[in-house]
Amino acid sequence: MKDAGHLFRFAGLFVVAFLVFLMLRGFVVPKTFGQYGHYRGAAIGEIAQHPVKFAGHQTCESCHTDIADTHSKGAHAHVNCEACHGALYQRLPAPPQPKRNLYQRFLALIAPPAPPDAPTLLHADDPMSVTPVKPDTLVLCVRCHTASAAKPKGFPQVDPSDHMGGVPCQTCHNPHSPAIGSNAAVSPAAGGAK
């Protein structure tokens, strides 16, 4: 037994190394790793916090009740607002960067400042001063309705040059309820592009 001392010293070294490993592991492995599986559980919440840009038709309909009413009765009832008008979100212009002296630049290197705030849904926040650009029907409508053999046969299609000869679509059709003679009046004020 007296010759076994070197074994105890080796075992002690092993235990110390194991404790160092556990300590390092505690620092290196993120706290939520393994919470749900072999990944960092907190990543799910971080991904869920990305900013929303398409606000959904319910947001638009909460104010534009008259157009929502016309729209719900027409052939485009299943086409959501942002399918034609684009995302409610608009990219904010980047704020001017304040000038930094050498010390502040060094600080920014070792501790980067927080990213700018998430973009806001501007038109919904300030509907009077921020108004989205109305889409050009000559571009918008033909994107879906240009005749092509590849499109489903039941889908309404026209040859743009033959059908309208350069006249904007909303001259005859209200984009929110496109059937000619439908209840909605055909006028730019009723929702067509100006």
Binding site: K31, R40, A48, P51, S148
Partner: protein, 243 residues
């Protein structure tokens, strides 16, 4: 303060449980959203797709997808009567700006929107060496981009070609099924922007979701079923020539 051995034995397990909660953090920030109550998928109705590219543009806007890369894209198939096995497939710029006009009498045409299939047994998550990509408890294949090394094993492993290495972040990127939207009760950006309802978000754990009735009454297929990936992008009207 005197703590007896009995008190210590009572306190220790309670402290251990409390510490576990401290460690767990708060990953669910949508207060009314419970991951265990959902199992997400997508229904793609091919006969309704007109190839307008609205979904591709909406996805790029919503998720800041860089130009030339796609989280979702649309392919146009042209299958001639005498050549069913090697169709002509085009997808100019992912179908973002639509497709050229197709010729009559050149065979059968149809559009196939493609995206991550959010496989229940996804090959991409199995090959990740660091646990940076995973299937969330509600069935969405996600990427922890702060943890990803950018080794691209997952890009190679995906049988559907749905992943890419982000050109500036240098990490893997893909469709998240708009996880930041669906956890807030919204539908995905592609579904929101689709003018014909060719895409439909499906919650397979919600008994009131119309997906159940649709799956019961329609012939539905997934892409590459022989790969046994448990794909949850269900295609209605999928032609046999689609690979």
């Amino acid at each position: 303060m005197n703590i007896s051995r009995r008190h210590l034995l009572i306190l220790l397990p309670a402290a251990a449980v409390a510490w576990k909660y401290v460690e767990a953090g708060t990953p669910e920030d949508s207060p009314n959203y419970q991951m265990s109550e959902h199992w997400w998928g997508m229904l793609i109705n091919i006969p309704k797709c007109i190839g307008c590219g609205n979904c591709v543009r909406a996805c790029a806007t919503e998720n800041d997808v860089p130009d030339g890369y796609f989280r979702t894209w649309v392919e146009r198939y042209n299958v001639t009567d005498t050549n069913m096995t090697t169709p002509e497939v085009i997808s100019p710029d992912g179908g973002k700006e639509g497709f050229p006009v197709a010729q009559e009498d050149a065979g059968k045409y149809f559009f196939v929107p493609k995206m991550c299939n959010h496989c229940a047994d996804s090959p991409c998550t199995q090959v990740c060496p660091v646990g940076a990509t995973f299937i969330s408890p509600d069935g969405v294949v996600l990427i922890d981009q702060t943890y990803c090394l950018g080794c691209a094993y997952c890009v190679q492993a995906c049988p559907y070609g749905c992943r890419y290495i982000h050109p500036t972040k240098k990490v893997a990127d893909k469709c998240t099924l708009c996880y930041h939207r669906i956890t807030k009760g919204l539908t995905t950006a592609c579904c929101e922007a689709c003018p014909t309802g060719a895409r439909q978000l499906a919650d397979l754990k919600n008994p009131n979701d119309p997906i159940h009735e649709f799956l019961k009454t329609h012939p539905v297929q997934v892409l590459k079923p022989q790969m046994a990936t448990g794909a949850k992008a269900y295609y209605f009207g999928l032609d046999g020539s689609v690979r």
